[in-house]
C-alpha cells in the first residue's frame, strides 16, 4: 500500500499510541502477576489494529470493544491513570472499580465499553450507529471483535441490519488466529471472515493488521465511507496475540514457537519505527523521547492506581439503577 499520505504527525501519534499500549500491557501483566487483578487479556501484538483506525476518529465517534480491549481504550484516548485504577478495582477507575479490565468505558471519550461476552457488543455498536443516522450527526461507530466472535450470530444479524439501513458502523475483526485455544482455520468455515461481508452487500477488506500504515489506509476509507452515508464496512485485520488468552496460560500448548516467532519478527511497533526512520519522518532521538514519555506515563498511571483507594462499601449498591423506588 502507498503510505505517502500518512504524514509525520499521524505516524508519530500512531507510534506513540502503540508504544503506550505495549508499556501499559506489560505493566498490567506485572500487576496481575503480583496478584492485584485476575483474568487479564493482554493485547500485546495487536496494537496496530485500533491505532490505525482510531487515527481517523474524534472524541464524538464511538468505539466498542471486547474482553481484550485495553488497546482499544488507549487508542481512543482514555486516561491511563483511570484505566489502570479500573484494572486494580479502585474508586478512581473509569467505572469506579466496578467494571474492571473487561468493562472499561468512558462515554466522554466515546468509548462505550469493553464487553466480556464474545460478540455481544456488535449489535450494540450497530445501535450506536443508528443513533447517528436517526439524529443526522456525522458520528461513526467502530466495533472491534475477534475471530472467535465472527462465528456468533449477532455479527451476521448486525451486518444485515447495518446493510439494509446503511448505518455508519465499522466492523473490525482482529483475527489473532486463536479463539482462546482454538485455531482460526478450525473454527471459521470458508477460511475467510472478510468474505462474509459479500453476503450482506457490504465491503469486506482483509488487511495486514501488523502494519499500522495499512490499518491507517483501510481505516481512512471505511471511516470516509461511513461519514458519507454509504454504510458499513467489515475489516478483517490479520494480527497475532503474543501472550496466551488470559496471560497466565501457556500458548505453546496449542501453537508452535516457530509460529510465534514469525509474527514477533513482524512486530507492528518495530515496523512502524523502521518506516518512520527510513522515510526520515523523525530522528531516532525523537522516537527515544517518545519511548521514554510513554514509559513515564504508564509508570505514573501505575503509581496513581496503586495509591488510589478501593471503593467505599456503599458503592456496592450504587448505580444499579438511575432511580429505583
Amino acid at each position: 500500500m502507498p503510505y505517502t499520505e500518512i504524514n509525520r504527525d499521524s505516524l508519530l501519534w500512531m507510534y506513540e499510541t502503540m508504544v503506550t499500549i505495549r508499556r501499559f500491557e506489560e505493566q498490567s501483566r506485572r500487576e496481575a502477576d503480583a496478584g492485584k487483578l485476575r483474568g487479564m487479556h493482554s493485547s500485546v501484538g495487536q496494537e496496530a489494529v485500533p491505532t490505525g483506525l482510531c487515527a481517523h476518529l474524534d472524541e464524538n465517534d464511538y468505539v466498542l470493544g471486547t474482553h481484550r480491549s485495553h488497546h482499544h481504550c488507549i487508542a481512543k484516548g482514555l486516561d491511563l491513570n483511570h484505566m489502570m485504577a479500573e484494572l486494580l478495582g479502585k474508586s478512581t477507575g473509569t467505572g469506579k472499580g466496578k467494571g474492571g479490565t473487561m468493562h472499561i468505558a468512558d462515554i466522554d471519550r466515546g468509548m462505550l465499553g469493553a464487553n466480556g461476552v464474545v460478540g455481544s457488543n456488535i449489535p450494540v455498536a450497530t445501535g450506536v450507529a443508528l443513533t447517528a443516522k436517526v439524529k443526522g450527526t456525522n458520528q461513526v461507530s467502530v466495533v472491534f471483535f475477534g475471530d472467535g466472535a465472527s462465528s456468533q450470530g449477532v455479527l451476521h444479524e448486525s451486518m444485515n441490519l447495518a446493510g439494509i439501513w446503511k448505518l455508519p458502523v465499522i466492523f473490525v475483526c482482529e483475527n489473532n488466529r486463536y479463539a482462546e485455544a482454538t485455531p482460526f482455520e478450525y473454527s471459521v468455515a470458508g477460511g475467510s471472515i472478510s468474505n462474509r461481508a459479500d453476503g450482506y452487500g457490504i465491503p469486506g477488506v482483509s488487511v495486514d493488521g501488523q502494519s499500522v500504515m495499512d490499518m491507517f489506509e483501510v481505516g481512512r476509507e471505511a471511516v470516509a465511507r461511513a461519514r458519507a452515508g454509504d454504510g458499513p464496512t467489515l475489516i478483517e485485520a490479520q494480527t497475532y496475540r503474543y501472550m496466551g488468552h488470559f496471560g497466565a496460560d501457556d500458548p505453546l500448548g496449542y501453537r508452535s514457537a516457530e509460529e510465534q516467532q514469525y509474527y514477533i519478527d513482524r512486530d507492528c511497533i518495530a515496523n512502524c519505527r523502521a518506516h518512520i526512520l527510513e522515510g526520515s519522518f523523525a530522528e531516532e532521538s525523537e522516537l527515544e523521547e517518545i519511548d521514554a514519555s510513554c514509559l513515564a506515563a504508564v509508570n505514573e498511571a501505575t503509581e496513581f492506581a496503586n495509591k488510589s483507594p478501593f471503593p467505599d462499601p456503599e458503592e456496592l449498591l450504587q448505580d444499579v439503577y438511575v432511580s429505583y423506588s
Binding site: I107, V124, T126, V154, N160, V320, Y321
Partner: protein, 342 residues
Amino acid sequence: MTQAEATRQISFIQAINEALRQELQRDPSVIVMGEDIAGGGEREDFQDAWGGPMRLTKGLVNEFGRNRIRDTPISEAGFVGAGVGAAASGLRPVVDLMYVSFYGVCADQITNNAAKMHYMFGGKVTVPLTIMTGIGAGTNSAAQHSETLYSIFTHFPGLKCVVPSNPYNAKGLMTAAIRDDDPVIVFNNRQLMGLRFDDHVPEDQYTVQIGKSEIKQEGDDITLIGIGFTTRVCMEAAEELEEQGYSVEVLDLLSLSPMDNDAILSSVQKTRKVVIVDEDYPRCSIAADISALVAEEAFDYLDAPPRRVNAPHASVPYSRPLEALYVPNKEKVVEAALEIID
C-alpha cells in the same frame, strides 16, 4: 354533561398506541422498532401494512416516517442489541419483542448489556430502553407463543418490569417506561387486548408511577394479588367471594421490579390472608417471591399460610380444553381463598 361525555373508553391496544404516538410527538429522541411494526418494508404502496401483529403500532409510520418507525428483519438479538446501543448513545428506543418467549434469542443483549452497562461503567452510561412484549396464554397459540416469564427479568438487577392490567394503566405505564432512564420491560397480556374495559382513559398524557401497585378495591377478610390479566381474574373471584359474605381486598401489582412491598405488606397485615394469582410458571415465580416476602416480613400477622395460584409446572398446551385448565381462573382463586379464609 352526560356520562358518555365524561368518560373516554379505548381498548388496551389503542392505549398503547396512544402512549407511543404522544411520546413520539413530544420527544424527537423516541424511536420504535421491531418486526412488522409498520409492515411492508419500504414499499411506498404498502405503507403501514400491519402496524404490528397486535396493531399496537398502527398508524405510527405515516405520522413519524421510516426514520423513526423501523421495521426490522427477524433478528431479535440484532435489533434488541441495537436498541441497547441506541439508548446508550442518545435515543429513547422502544423495541417490540413480539412474544416474550423470543427473549431466548436475545437474552444476552437484555441481561448482559441493557441491565449491566449502568453499573459496570460506574453510573456514567444510561440505557433508557423500553422493550414491549406480548405475554399470556388463552389465545390458542401453544407453548412458544403463550408464556408469561416476567419473573425471569425481575431476577436481574438493572431491569425494571411492569405489567399493565387495563387501558388506563397501560397508557400511563408505557409513557412512564419511555421516559424512564433505566431499561424497562412492559409486559402486555394478549388476552387483555381483546377485552372491553369501562375505565376512563384521558386523552392528555399522564404517567402511572413505576414501582407502585394499586388497590382495586378495599376489603378486610382476605387480600387477592393480581398481575396484569390475573387482576381481572381476582376481581371476578372477589365478586363471588363477596356474594358469599366476605370482604375482599384486591391489589393490582402493576410493577414487578421495583415491587411495591409496602403496599403488599400493609394489605396483608390488615386482612391476615393472601392469595397471589400469577399466570407465570410456579417455580421461582413472582408469586413465590411475594409468598416469601409475606412469610418473612408479616409472619406474625398471618392467620393462614400464603396461597399461590399459578399456572402449573408445564408448558402451555395448544388444545383449548387443556389450555382452559392451564390459566388461573376465578374458580381456582375462589377455591384457594376459601381454603384459608375461615
